[in-house]
Amino acid sequence: MSSPADASTLLDRHFLEVRARLLEVAATLDRLDRAQGDVSGDPRKDQLDRAIAMLADPEAGRAERLQRLFSRAYSEDWRSQMEL
């Protein structure tokens, strides 16, 4: 099922909101740079870096891929691992 909305109209609606959110992300990364210490080895920083790269991917399904990136892994044999 497709959207009946016009792409240009949607961009009009969301441009300022997305711009503001991107600025928040940029400012947060700058804040981390200015802060004492180093989080480059923190896996959450790596997740954020990979998430930002995903946003630039032109292929659809970005939200789902981002969700998977921030998800714990699922193992099909969880029941035997839990002896359940």
Binding site: M1, A5, Q67, S71, R72, W78, L84
Partner: protein, 270 residues
Amino acid sequence: MDYIDPHIHMVSRITDDYATLARMGCVAISEPAFWAGFDRGSADGFRDYFRQLTEVEPQRAAQYGIQHFCWLCINAKEAENVSLARDVIAMIPEFLDAPGVLGIGEIGLNKNTRNESIVFLEHMELAIKHDQPILIHTPHLEDKYQGTRMILDMLNGDSRIDRSRVLVDHVEEHTIRAVLDDGYWAGMTLYPVSKCTPQRAADMIEMVGPERLLANSAGDWGPSKPTAVPDLIFELRQRGHSESLIRKVVYDNPREFFAKSKNFRFTPRS
């Protein structure tokens, strides 16, 4: 537009919220049993809670022309205490014939532990034994994907489960297709912090279509907005979706799913 909120915790809301819901077009709600913000110490605490769900809230709702239905269980968070959970599960049949009790819920997983899984399976047995529909909570944030897959494994592994009588709630972009593809109903929870926005819910409707899809507000004691379903209606209208599609998601689908319960007696507004 008349709508139904299929998952809202009205015990956490003030009476003014019932008035607001009524003004926004809400004609019916269903309230799954959930965590109260603290762990209860005994099965009797749950007995009182179930009386609140089956006796008090329906009366409070009726004052505003809203029909109230509910689901009973011990939630996933308190299910970590297996002994307490078993006491509560043993007591639930006392309430299953009460008017407005639609089934067993919201059962599910929280941190995806062994104990939670044991209690989930025992709730499934209860539902099967008493021929009850099931409403399922899926975990939030990083636990959602793993927990949803575990829940589907447990449901799919039991051939006695009628998938058309099971609603898997709090689906998001990475879990919605698995739930629908396996034949279950899916619920999208509109929530300002940890779940999904009306905009993303509208996106998911566009991605998977409106079949077997519901939308709810949760409206619990945390940061939440009881009028989130009207926000979704507004978002879909702004995008140019038809009134029939909107009505299917927020009114027809909940009615069709609730009708799987023998206790669902709904009087549409004339």
